[in-house]
């Protein structure tokens, strides 16, 4: 693959990747991580499946974000670093626009936040999600359904709680 060919393919994905990273890290780190990501993509260009560049980029971005968080933003728990990489947007960033949703989002497991983000924000199909989180398509679909149900359940509880408060 020539640099020109690489540019032609990956330049088209820059907007999606920018938003993917921006949802997950402070603004000051977005360009840095994006630069790292495309460097990796260039080095691995021959092994990236044609037509699946976007899920491949998301998958690799998760690891870069996870590594970055592990080293520089370790405030949650070291224990989190033992789990597979999770890089979902924080509940607080979502709450900036929707407090109720942010509160429910915060109750989800990191893996649930991750898969819902891939579905809702990135708009990925089950197949694409399965590549990003490295599991089978069926397992990805099941996890997504379960995560959506959990979020919906938490939102319903939030609604009920608000109703009780207002009464």
């Amino acid at each position: 693959m020539t640099p020109e060919h690489f540019n032609a393919i990956y330049r088209a994905e820059l907007g999606s990747i920018t938003r993917f990273i921006a949802r997950r890290v402070p603004d000051t780190e977005v360009e840095d991580l994006a630069g790292d990501l495309f460097e990796v993509a260039w080095q691995k260009r021959d092994s990236i499946p044609e037509g699946f560049e976007i899920p491949w980029l998301y998958k690799s971005a998760r690891y870069l974000i996870s590594n970055s968080r592990r080293k520089s933003v370790n405030r949650k728990r070291i224990f989190d670093s033992l789990r597979p990489p999770t890089s979902a947007p924080s509940a607080e960033s979502i709450a900036l626009a929707d407090m109720e949703l942010g509160a429910s989002w915060g109750k989800l497991k990191p893996q649930e936040q991750e898969i819902i983000a891939l579905w809702a924000f990135e708009g990925l199909s089950n197949k694409e999600i399965s590549i990003v989180i490295e599991t089978s398509e069926n397992a990805a679909a099941i996890r997504l359904t379960r995560a959506k149900a959990s979020l919906k359940n938490f939102l319903d509880l939030e609604n009920q709680s608000e109703l009780r408060t207002s009464n």
């Binding site: 603004d27 690891y63 968080r69 626009a97 069926n138």
Partner: protein, 429 residues
């Protein structure tokens, strides 16, 4: 397909924190083929501000060598960004991993800490340990794979890099992976078989709604979980007694944890196993480290350490058992804070809204000496003496107690936006 979650998706999209993000300059892509590999030291661009990558490595190594004999150089050069523990500062706690939350209207609280007169003013000393990875990655990964009965060849992961080597063996749904940096953490995952068991799908390309129900009756007993944990932990290098294993259980799963002990103390390094609702062992994790004692160093008093809370560079990570002890109190504190906070808002001369944080005063009532985990700029993990400083709001902070000079903190200006911009200048040639 009628998706009952479509409304949910629309709502989530409306709350997208990146919806107003500007697209990066396209040179980010164009530069990739022109970039030399491994220009960065441990992924922290700021380490290159004063030193080239190779020079920084050399200086770090030199510091480690000299400190053993002269004691005049810092033992540890802290990673930029530093280890940050969950702080009693509510704004940080609710911020999760996103520093942008500092401007979240209604949730910006600035804490002011003061020590109680009951806090000890006595100085002391404590041992420092460096955590070094044991063995080599291929042998370690093969050893773990054998334990879980996973066959295949070892492959370097696509996201593996010189700074963060990562390897795995097995299939995507059942594999062991190893990250060969820091503490050499490994992770066994076994998702597919268990998760598919209760599935009633109709079409692989289109997921049907499945009503998942937990099956707690399939979970192994606590005794069985502990026995399995003991077996796996011991085989993977964590010699531990049954009484030191902690368990959790709900309808959706069960599991066990145990802490890597150093000098008889729990540390932030943990081994774990977990079962899903079908009773299948779905994950296990651990590390590949040994603790090397690097000497006894003087520590400041608990009273004096209070002022370090406000400087995140002094934060460290305590053992997980500490977090668990405080977890319920934490949620209460969050709830209280959400009600109490009432920031003022003003208009700057430029017409921009500015939020004035609410000041919350906290008194540190007591302290507990402990061991904290931190990372240095080379990616190595360390265990250093520290204090848990318990405040009158029912939460705590964990700060390093080593006296000045043992650790070289990163400079605050290293992460300033001005310096970051310097890094973004295009490379010559």
């Amino acid at each position: 397909m009628n998706d009952k979650f479509e409304e949910l998706r629309i709502r989530i999209q409306a709350a997208d924190p990146a919806q107003n993000t500007s697209e990066l300059n396209q040179t980010v892509v164009a530069k990739a083929p022109l970039t030399q590999k491994a220009k960065r030291l441990w992924g922290f661009k700021t380490t290159r501000l004063g030193l080239g990558g190779a020079s920084a490595v050399a200086v770090t190594a030199l510091a480690l060598t000299i400190s053993a004999t002269l004691g005049a150089q810092p033992l540890i050069q802290m990673a930029v960004g530093g280890p940050e523990s969950l702080s009693s500062s509510d704004s940080k706690m609710m911020a999760g991993s996103d520093e942008k939350i500092g401007i979240w209207p209604g949730y910006w609280v600035q804490n002011e800490y003061s020590p109680s007169v009951d806090l000890s003013t006595e100085q002391g000393s404590g041992n420092v340990y460096q955590l070094v990875m044991v063995g080599n990655p291929s042998q370690r990964l093969q050893q773990i794979a054998n334990i879980f009965g996973i066959e295949g060849s070892i492959k370097e992961d696509e996201w593996s890099s010189k700074e963060y080597p990562s390897y795995s063996i097995g299939t995507p749904n059942r594999q062991v992976s190893l990250s060969w940096n820091g503490t050499g953490s490994w992770y066994f995952s076994n998702w597919a078989e268990s998760e598919l068991r209760s599935e009633t799908r109709e079409d692989a390309s289109e997921m049907v709604e499945v009503d998942f129900k937990p099956t707690p009756e399939l979970l192994p007993s606590e005794g069985e979980v502990i026995a399995k944990a003991l077996e796996i932990f011991n085989e993977t290098g964590l010699p531990i007694a049954e009484s030191e294993i902690r368990t959790y259980r709900d309808d959706w799963g069960t599991g066990a944890f145990a802490s890597f002990k150093v000098a008889g103390q729990d540390t932030a390094i943990e081994w774990s196993i977990g079962y899903d609702s079908t009773g299948e062992l779905t994950y296990a994790s651990g590390h590949s480290v040994a603790a090397i004692e690097r000497g006894d160093f003087k520590t400041i008093s608990a009273f004096d350490s209070v002022e370090r809370i406000a400087d995140g560079r002094w934060w460290g990570n305590p053992a997980n058992s500490v977090w668990e002890q405080y977890s319920s109190d934490a949620s209460m504190l969050k709830a209280d804070s959400q009600i109490q906070v009432d920031p003022e808002m003003s208009i700057s001369p430029e017409g921009e809204e500015q939020f004035v944080p609410e000041i919350q005063k906290l008194v540190i009532e007591r302290s507990t000496a402990t061991m904290l985990m931190i990372y240095d700029k080379r990616g190595s993990a360390w265990l250093v003496p520290g204090y848990l400083l318990h405040n009158d709001k029912g939460w705590f902070d964990a700060v390093i107690s080593l006296e000045e000079g043992v650790i070289e903190l990163y400079k605050p200006e290293e992460i300033s936006p001005e310096n970051l911009r310097i890094e973004e200048e295009p490379a010559q040639g």
